[in-house]
Symmetry: C2
Subunit: 458 residues, 2 copies
């Protein structure tokens, strides 16, 4: 038997190959046509769990895509139990969205691998499994008890996860949780995320005329739904970029000066913004920095808008229906239910009498914050000293991981997110990518993190 | 040989069968995937033209879909020459758009035939050909010289037609033109359209970030293009329903009181509007009746709007791009070029500095008016006495037939539209349909129309 880091080093090519294999399975969890592929990804993971020596491997059904569970509880009663969460579902992707190579055939260019889900979140699935494999196969052994929970509906807003966690409360009981979903801004700046925005996502659908109409024959007498949805969406923000929904900011806890200064430290430079975003000009709520607007302030985004004919050429139609997909990112102490109620009431109020309005909720999750002095945060801070040249910074993030709020609420677990994708990973967009050297650094850091957790508890 | 009306009566089942055959060919002229079908429709028509005894049958190429030409010039130098225009291309249609039966497999229910293009405009293609066939095969013979011009790009805004007409100016020379594209409001109310709205159609595309972004990571720092397109579209109309583009109404010729009263006669009742449109409430420019708003006032319609993720489920994306397809219906004396310049300049002006804007023009056509005392209008008025119980009403229509303005400009031809679909034909929408008895009435009326044209000229 070898030292755990030697084991990881000796098997690095195979580990990477396994990541590539998993990315090849197009587990687009929200797409009914990809249901079989999504299940295949779950089975691939369960097989690997069995192979590396985890116990009680199970593909547990939900009303949607199943969760994959496994554990290893042989570290002893004195050792802490760590629940590791990740998700195996990915965002939709088509070559025609602007990919330079098949999104489901990972391709390496200059030390970077391209493929849908390679950053979000399959790298983290593989990194945590391979860290566990290395510890279990090494001479040191694994110093903590492990429970894995990999879900298949994160990209769809985890609609069934809260109920699932309530149903399996006993099995999932642990001392802390690692949320293996997220990443770093830069390859040389380790970062610990201590706060995450929450989310509430929904769809508003409007119906005007009973059927699509000819715009020449009827144009002038009908409030065109493609126009109405635009007029409604345009009323959701004020001219200055703030959200126009009355009361939207009421529950937002403002940062004190010290925390504001800490957040400022990790502010994106204009150059970084230009490189990652590249729009002609930045935009947002006045009076807040880029870091604050994306981390500690709530937002309301239009994730999709549609009405009428959008194919090639032209069609002189007045559509019967139109819709918008909307999500709000929330910060402490906003409550998803209250915001949903507030925003949908406002939308009903601004809807003109010329259309019918209906809503469909797609998912939600509360915003969270983890104490900076908790053992899990401190263990991660120490783990980041291996391979990394500078101290980890503490950061708030704009993304939402609904599971975190649920784990805090239902199991009362301190959680910390862990991940090694970079700001330019292009998650959710075309050419999603992952740096190969970050993958290997991630495995080592995760091994050390688990060791430090054990050390902190002994 | 038989009397012309007996011939039409004896062959009515075959005539109808030919209409069904032509509708089965999915000649969606704007869809590159339907290019072969579109050409097949042109060939089908050319074959029938040869069969019924027309001469000089030719499928004449354009930069897009070809036009089909044929003539019969044996009525003598003294007889008038009538140019008959129709189009063989149809709007896109998918069963999933809300059709109750396959749009390209015509299905009869209660004396009504359902199929894409059966009203707009294949019924008129067949009616004019079958009227010509009946006259040519009858004992009376055909009293006028005939030229047929069937185009394949009307639903795409006839981009190549003006150039085509200039190129074939000599061949197309005639004394008048029948624009076989249009319809009636009700089965028992014949109607002569003496004015048509013009059109200018284009697409506005905006680009913000260089790639699609994760709305959690970047939300708050980017002016989301799906939101921007909505905000821009919302500025195109005023709250009261009038168009907000400065100067848009400047060239509109207001109706005098007498013509306004004439137009009012054909105003749609609220009950008819409810039945045909059925939105919760009507809408439009204040101070004008339904008939005026759809016939004698210009409009600006959003025919399509799109940005971001619009599939099943949810995707937390900030899209890089968004777009809207827009068309303006114009009335005398608005000029399409001037309106295009005016509207696109305004859109550039209201575009925020956070996006790039580009335009693509899809087509245009000037508004037209035909003198009520012209021989062609008077001949049609007399033709409508056959089979119809009341006098034809004179009406302005909201639809646009770009060819009409071109024929007036290039060939200086008086034109009159002719067609026998009804207001509830659902053209451009799902379940487009055609009343079988209107088809047979249409053949007879067209025969009589051509005879009355000859009588008026002798």
């Amino acid at each position: 038997m070898t030292n755990v880091y030697d084991y990881a080093q000796n098997n690095r090519d195979r580990f990477l190959q396994q990541l590539i294999e998993l990315v090849r399975i197009p587990s687009v969890g929200t797409d009914p046509a990809r249901r079989a592929d999504t299940l295949r990804a779950a089975e691939w993971i369960a097989d690997d769990m069995r192979r590396i020596g985890l116990n009680n491997v199970a593909i547990l059904p939900t009303e949607g895509n199943p969760a994959v569970y496994a554990d290893w509880l042989e570290a002893g009663d004195q050792a802490p139990t760590v629940l590791i969460y990740a998700h195996y579902d990915v965002q939709p992707a088509e070559l025609s969205d602007g990919w330079d190579s098949d999104p489901f055939e990972p391709t390496e260019r200059n030390g970077v691998l391209y493929g849908r889900g390679i950053a979000d979140d399959k790298s983290n699935v593989i990194i945590t499994l391979k860290a566990a494999e290395s510890l279990l196969a090494s001479e040191e052994g694994c110093p903590v008890n492990l429970k894995f929970l990999f879900e298949g509906e994160e990209e769809g807003g985890s609609p069934n996860l809260p109920g699932f966690i309530r149903d399996y409360k006993d099995r999932l009981q642990a001392d802390m949780a690692i949320i293996a979903d997220g990443g770093l801004e830069k390859p040389d700046e380790p970062m610990i995320i201590y706060a995450m925005r929450g989310i509430v996502a929904f769809e508003v659908r409007i119906t005007g005329p009973i059927t699509d109409l000819h715009s020449g024959v009827h144009g002038g007498s009908v409030h065109n739904p493609a126009q109405v949805i635009a007029e409604m969406v345009a009323k959701l923000h004020n001219e200055d970029g703030s959200i126009a929904v009355p009361g939207f900011y009421d529950d937002v806890e403002n940062l004190d000066d010290a925390e504001r200064a800490e957040v400022q430290k990790s502010d994106m430079s204009q150059q970084e913004w230009d490189q990652n975003v590249g729009a002609p000009k930045d935009w947002g709520e006045p009076g807040y920095s880029l870091a604050e607007r994306t981390g500690s302030r709530p937002t309301l985004e239009i994730n999709g808008i549609y009405g009428g004919y959008i194919g090639d050429g032209f069609k002189t139609v007045i559509p019967s229906k139109a819709m918008a997909k909307i999500s709000c990112r929330l910060v402490a102490n906003q409550k998803p239910d209250k915001i949903y109620e507030m925003v949908t009431s406002y939308i009903r109020q601004i809807a003109p009498p010329t259309v019918h309005v209906e809503f469909q909720k797609h998912g939600d999750g509360a915003p969270i914050r983890v104490p900076l002095d908790s053992p899990i945060v401190q263990a991660l801070s120490r783990a980041f000293k291996l391979h990394w040249t500078q101290e980890a910074a503490y950061k708030r993030t704009g993304g939402s991981i609904p599971i975190v709020a649920v784990l805090q609420d239902e199991l009362n677990l301190p959680c910390v997110p862990l991940g090694f994708s970079l700001a330019d990973s292009g998650i959710h967009g075309p050419n999603e990518n992952y740096h190969v050297d970050m993958f290997h650094k991630g495995v080592d850091t995760t091994i050390r993190f688990l060791q430090e957790i054990a050390a902190a508890s002994s």
